[in-house]
């Protein structure tokens, strides 16, 4: 039995290794794609295109205007008429306009409240919200400076008041670098995507070529055919992911790998088996690769949302939380961050491991049952 399976595995291997374009794209998936993802996803707002309409033009307002600096704001123009704001924002060339009222100088020095107006482009609501928060910070720190200059407050004022001194520490990622998160997430996503696509395509191909009949006529049993498709995927994905960790995650982004790589790779192997089994299950149902691709898209998208990486588990509706338990990806994302990033041991992740294994057995079993019911008859 082992010998039969081994020879089919060898055939699968050479089929993959002979496809140079495929090898290249696989290597890219685990290096370049992870690098670009780690770079591309920044939630910080930088170089926000800004125009300024300073009606007051006094020394205080000019000082305030000078605070709108790179890297957060890129001041594109100083306007002279109100209509210009509409032009800049309509055309999308600027995303924010700061209007300083004519009585700014008088009010600030007269110790009453002066209002500056910030108009943002609401079509990019997320960045607009962040940009307004930045402006509020600029305004309050400038306010304190003005008060200090006027002698209203001094540094010691704050020491003799009952205030809370906030000592905040961010665990695991002290500087809140989004590249640590996205690059690791992309690696875990690649495990998911490549295992699923590669195995499903290898299986569907036999159907399209009509070579499945040959395999059925051979003494190979369905389970052995499946395993021969799954084993090359496991080996390829695991070895390529070494590249990601040691060529991209560590050197390019400095992601700390705190946990045991041995634990990670043993469970990752099982996860690749589970996702490959899902690929096999799709392949035995679909008639050609185009169909299989659509079904995979349909399964991958909800899995991404239920994985807990984008929508945190605590924000999900109860039915979503429930549904997430049948997604192997949810367990793997949790497992991956827990082990690689937080450095947790098996005591923290045994539930994830059980989940991954159970889903793998279920999917593999389903494929065999469906295969036996439909194709091998």
């Amino acid at each position: 039995m082992w010998k039969r399976m081994l020879s089919l595995t060898r055939k699968e291997f050479s089929q993959i290794l002979r496809d140079k374009a495929l090898l290249f794209i696989l290597a890219w998936a685990f290096t370049g794609a992870i690098y670009t993802a780690g770079h591309g996803m920044s939630m910080e707002v930088e170089r926000f295109p800004t125009v300024i309409y300073d009606i007051d033009k006094g020394p205080l307002s000019r000082e305030l205007v000078s605070r709108f600096r790179m890297p957060y704001f890129k001041v594109l123009a100083y306007l002279h008429r109100e209509e210009e704001i509409t032009q800049w924002l309509d055309s999308g060339k600027a995303s924010m306009a700061v209007v300083i009222p004519p009585d700014f100088q008088r009010k600030v020095s007269g110790n009453t409240e002066a209002k500056i107006q910030v108009i943002t482009d609401g079509t990019i609501s997320m960045s607009a919200t962040i940009a307004i928060a930045y402006v509020a910070q600029i305004a309050s720190s400038y306010s304190i400076e003005v008060l200090e200059k006027q002698g209203m407050v001094t540094r010691s004022t704050f020491e003799n008041l009952p205030l809370i001194d906030e000592r905040l520490r961010v665990e695991f990622n002290p500087n809140i670098l989004s590249s640590w998160f996205t690059s690791l997430l992309e690696l875990l996503n690649m495990f998911t995507m490549v295992s699923l696509l590669l195995t499903a395509a290898a299986m569907v191909r036999e159907k399209e070529y009509g070579t499945l009949e040959q395999l059925l006529a051979s003494p190979l049993r369905p389970g052995e055919i499946f395993m021969a498709k799954i084993i090359p995927t496991i080996i390829i994905v695991l070895s390529l992911s070494f590249l990601s960790i040691f060529l991209v995650l560590k050197p390019a982004f400095g992601v700390p790998i705190r946990g045991s790589l041995f634990l990670f790779y043993s469970i990752a192997a099982i996860y690749v088996f589970t996702m490959s089994s899902l690929g096999i299950a799709i392949a035995v149902v679909a008639r050609n690769l185009a169909q299989a691709m659509m079904i995979m898209l349909l399964i991958l998208a909800p899995m991404l949302f239920l994985s807990g990486a984008w929508t945190p588990p605590e924000a999900m509706a109860p039915w979503m939380q429930w549904a997430s338990h049948i997604s192997p990806m949810r367990y793997f994302i949790d497992f991956g961050y827990s082990v690689l990033f937080k450095g947790n041991g098996i005591a923290y992740v045994w539930q994830d491991i059980v989940g991954i294994m159970l889903m793998g057995i279920l999917l593999f079993g389903f494929s065999r049952w469906w295969f036996g019911r439909t194709i091998s008859k």
Partner: protein, 377 residues
């Protein structure tokens, strides 16, 4: 000549219709994706599980804890008794924030002194960590204000100092900064980037694998006729998808739409032509279906979400990101879609985008036709 193109179109259309499972999936999948993305992408950070370690046990510390538990953003998961519990809770991801109140908390505040509070925030998901930081700061600021006012009034002083500068934020086009007005039109662009490309990715390479491509090689049909004949039926399918997605966005998600549908459709047609063209190009240069599928998945999906300006504006990207964004059609369509949906601007604002998309399409089809060589072996 016309009859040759017509013949290819007819053949491709018939192939589509004769695989009703695929055609059905091709029409339904983007709708389901849109539903999932529209409802599944919950960006609001609410119900953050928080753990308290109250070493003070005073009425004041309980009051402070209440300021967290009363807010909808935090969900109390209980009281820790020692640091070991805290460590376990944050490592396992069961809580996202830990608040440690020191034993001298109320004593120091009653004496009018600074009191330290320690916060531990789970940094595995940077986006959420940033938001949590903001919430914590807001709660502390509020608590501080109450403390200071009480303290000063009890000593017969008034809390006089107001900040001289305040910021009034206004968002045009989307005054309440509703995230659906931002996400749903953006999704139209990203979905129509990767989905048509996937539809077309197998069209040519499939024939290479099955060998039917030799029928084309041997016929008098010219490369451009093959490319056009294969593109047109799929542009048709993707166009129907576009209409469905648009209707969903306005009728189901009730996104504000004040622009011209005709203009949007013009842009969409050009854009779909571009993305179908990308899929065809990949299909022409690949030798196996499996490679074509992987290249399309990686080459369109990731850039569509990361580099099109969907989440964060392109101006915030670093140089690499800005260069990548210039190479994908989504960048040119994104501003147009958001503008037409929410700003309601007319043709002359988007003339340049339309021209760019036209140039883009001609380049893609040019390369595709050039790469499609009749060859044997």
């Amino acid at each position: 000549m016309h009859s040759r193109i017509y013949a290819i179109i007819r053949k491709e259309t018939r192939e589509l219709i004769r695989d009703p499972v695929y055609l059905g999936l091709a029409l339904i999948v983007p709708l389901l994706l849109k539903l999932l993305f529209g409802y599944g992408l919950i960006m609001d950070v609410k119900n953050i599980p928080v753990l308290f370690y109250d070493q003070d046990h005073s009425p004041l510390s309980r009051e402070y804890i209440h300021s967290f538990t009363n807010s909808e953003y935090f969900r109390n998961t209980g009281m820790a008794k020692n640091y070991r519990e805290i460590d376990y809770a944050i490592r396992s991801g069961k809580v996202r924030v830990v608040v440690v109140i020191p034993p001298d908390f109320s004593r120091r505040l009653h004496e009018g002194k600074l009191a330290q509070i320690q916060f531990l925030v789970d940094g595995s998901f940077p986006m959420r960590a940033e938001v949590v930081k903001g919430y914590v700061a807001a709660i502390n600021a509020q608590f501080n204000q109450i403390m200071v006012t009480n303290y000063l009034t009890s000593r017969g002083q008034t809390a006089a100092t107001v900040f001289p500068i305040s910021v009034e934020g206004r968002a045009w086009y989307n005054p309440s900064l509703e995230s659906k007005n931002f996400i749903i039109p953006g999704l139209l662009v990203t979905t129509l980037m990767f989905y048509p490309a996937l539809l077309a990715a197998l069209v040519v390479v499939r024939e290479k694998e099955s060998g039917t491509i030799f029928n084309i090689y041997c016929s008098p049909v010219k490369p451009w006729e093959v490319v056009a004949g294969k593109a047109i039926p799929y542009i048709g399918v993707a166009f129907i998808d576009y209409v469905f997605i648009f209707l969903m966005s306005v009728m189901l998600f009730k996104v504000k739409f004040i622009g011209s549908f005709l203009l949007l459709t013009m842009g969409a047609l050009l854009y779909i032509a571009c993305t179908i063209g990308i899929g065809l190009l990949i299909s022409i240069i690949s030798r196996t279906q499996i490679a074509a599928m992987l290249i399309t998945f990686l080459g369109t999906m990731v850039p569509a979400f990361l580099y099109s300006g969907f989440m964060s504006p392109i101006t915030s990207q670093d140089v690499t990101g800005q260069i990548v964004s210039r190479f994908i059609p989504a960048t040119y369509f994104m501003g147009m879609v958001r503008g037409i949906y929410l700003k309601g601007l007319g043709f002359d604002y988007y003339l340049w985008d339309l021209i760019t998309l036209t140039i883009y399409a001609s380049i893609v089809y040019g390369i595709a036709i050039f790469s499609f060589r009749k060859r044997t072996g």
